[in-house]
């Protein structure tokens, strides 16, 4: 039985089209790199200044000048390049990164995202998240559907300070896959074994659900 996080990652890997340039946020999204095979021919961008990074294989010695934005020692794939921070963010602001995956504290019906600050509790700084959320063409959120106390993270409106407004394309949680549409959050897939009533109960946002079209994952 795969864990919730593994199910999210397997489902998320299906969002990447071979040949794309992909950015992975810190935490769960970084682990997606293990699900992107060399054959897919994607280049993973990390905002500290590398395009084409991959996880080191077991036993591969670290190069101390090669890290990703999460601080892990990385290796590179054929076609990779390294560059400075201004170049790295030019790539992001010019929308040359095709898709990015990020975690979330809160996401809402308008596709607003909050994932960097909890006033009074957690404010380490936003890093590169604001530019990535605002400028990358497709932003996919990977997160648990509810926080550790069971509170919904998929809300009518975000309450925390925003990373960027109206930036999210798709949300993949342990319970559902949802698209941000002009009409609201439309459920694409629902977790194996979960009912629509349970899903709605675990969600603050209104969900648009067409049961005849619903996939399982």
């Amino acid at each position: 039985m795969p864990s919730d996080q593994e199910r999210i990652l397997v489902r998320a890997a299906g969002e990447v089209i071979p040949g794309q340039i992909v950015n992975l946020g810190i935490g769960l999204p970084t682990r997606l790199s293990h699900y992107l095979s060399e054959e897919m021919g994607v280049l993973v961008h990390s905002e500290n200044g590398v395009l084409g990074c991959r996880p080191r294989t077991t036993g591969e010695a670290p190069d101390f000048d090669m890290i990703d934005s999460g601080g892990a020692y990385i290796a590179t794939r054929p076609g990779a390049s390294v560059f400075d921070s201004a170049m790295s963010f030019a790539m992001i602001r010019r929308s040359r990164v095709d898709i990015t995956f990020m975690g979330a504290f809160e996401v809402d019906e308008l596709g607003n995202l909050a994932n960097w600050k909890i006033p009074g509790k957690f404010s380490p700084g936003i890093g590169g998240a604001m530019e990535l959320a605002q400028k990358v063409k497709k932003l996919v959120i990977l997160c648990s559907h509810n926080d550790k106390h069971g509170n919904p993270k998929i809300l009518s409106r975000c309450r925390l300070p925003l990373t960027a407004p109206a930036c999210v394309s798709r949300i993949i949680t342990d319970k559902a896959v949802m698209d941000v549409t002009p009409e609201g959050l439309a459920v694409v897939d629902i977790a194996e074994g979960l009912g629509v009533v349970e899903l709605r109960a675990a969600t603050e946002a209104e969900l648009i659900i067409d049961e005849s079209q619903l996939g399982r994952f």
């Binding site: 921070s85 201004a86 790295s88 380490p124 605002q134 407004p165």
Partner: protein, 233 residues
């Protein structure tokens, strides 16, 4: 700017130019590219009341965290300090004043200074809580925020190779903020593992031309060993 023939100096001599209260850009994203030897010399010499500009605060016990832990830094302009709990604690105790910018804007503010501009116009951050803190103008029917360039008195940068005139070559992801800061500060001190004679570096492989560099010092790879360790992630 120092004359070409006088740029190659000892670490102690180069760092001794920095006075109390200086604003100092420090290269590096995490450990790669952090000029550990220059920072350690700054710690040893005792300058105080510093304003540091760095992407992050390194990690406890290394790099600029040592200066922060020693109470030598009044103000930090940065993007993310999540890997340094000591810096967060100093910020929360209000011993360290911290100014945070989105990372790409921090890089661009420094690049803008390096290009000799006042600043630039951007739509990054509109619709978020940083928006109201900046001047905004209308151009071509759109709203833009004015982001002033970020200059500094000094920059401390790390390069893989250099020559005696201060031409620099960076390596891997150790580039990051270094080439931007090398252009944005009034006085730039570069450290490199190898400082060669002028003419020995391939012309087209030079990342930062020597015109921007004030002093260059040679360090041993062992000097930076404290930054070369396995991360928790």
């Amino acid at each position: 700017m120092t004359l070409l023939n006088n740029k190659f100096q000892a670490v102690e001599e180069a760092v001794a130019r920095i006075p109390d209260g200086a604003s100092i850009m420090v290269g590096g994203f995490g450990s790669p590219g952090t000029p550990f030897a220059l920072i350690d010399e700054l710690l040893a010499q005792g300058q105080r009341g510093l304003t540091l500009i760095k992407n992050d605060a390194n990690e406890p016990g290394i790099g600029i965290s040592r200066l922060i832990e020693a109470g030598r830094v009044n103000r930090l302009i940065t993007s993310h300090i999540g890997l340094n709990r000591l810096a967060i604690e100093a910020m929360n105790r209000e011993e360290l004043s911290v100014e945070m910018h989105p990372q790409g804007l921090l890089a661009e503010k420094i690049r803008s200074a390096g290009a000799g501009h006042y600043g630039f116009l951007t739509d990054i951050g509109l619709g978020t809580e940083i928006a109201g803190k900046r001047r905004e103008i209308e151009c071509e029917d759109r709203t833009w925020a004015i982001e002033p360039a970020l200059y500094a008195d000094f920059a401390l940068v790390h390069a893989e190779q250099a020559d005696r005139y201060g031409n620099l070559i960076y390596r891997g992801t150790a580039s990051n903020f270094n080439p931007l800061m090398a252009m944005a500060a009034e006085h730039v001190i570069a450290q490199a593992y190898r400082v060669a004679e002028p003419g020995s570096l391939a012309l087209e492989s030079i990342h930062t031309p020597c015109a921007f560099i004030s002093q260059v010092v040679q360090i041993t790879e062992a000097t930076s060993e404290q930054g070369r360790r396995h991360h928790a992630v």
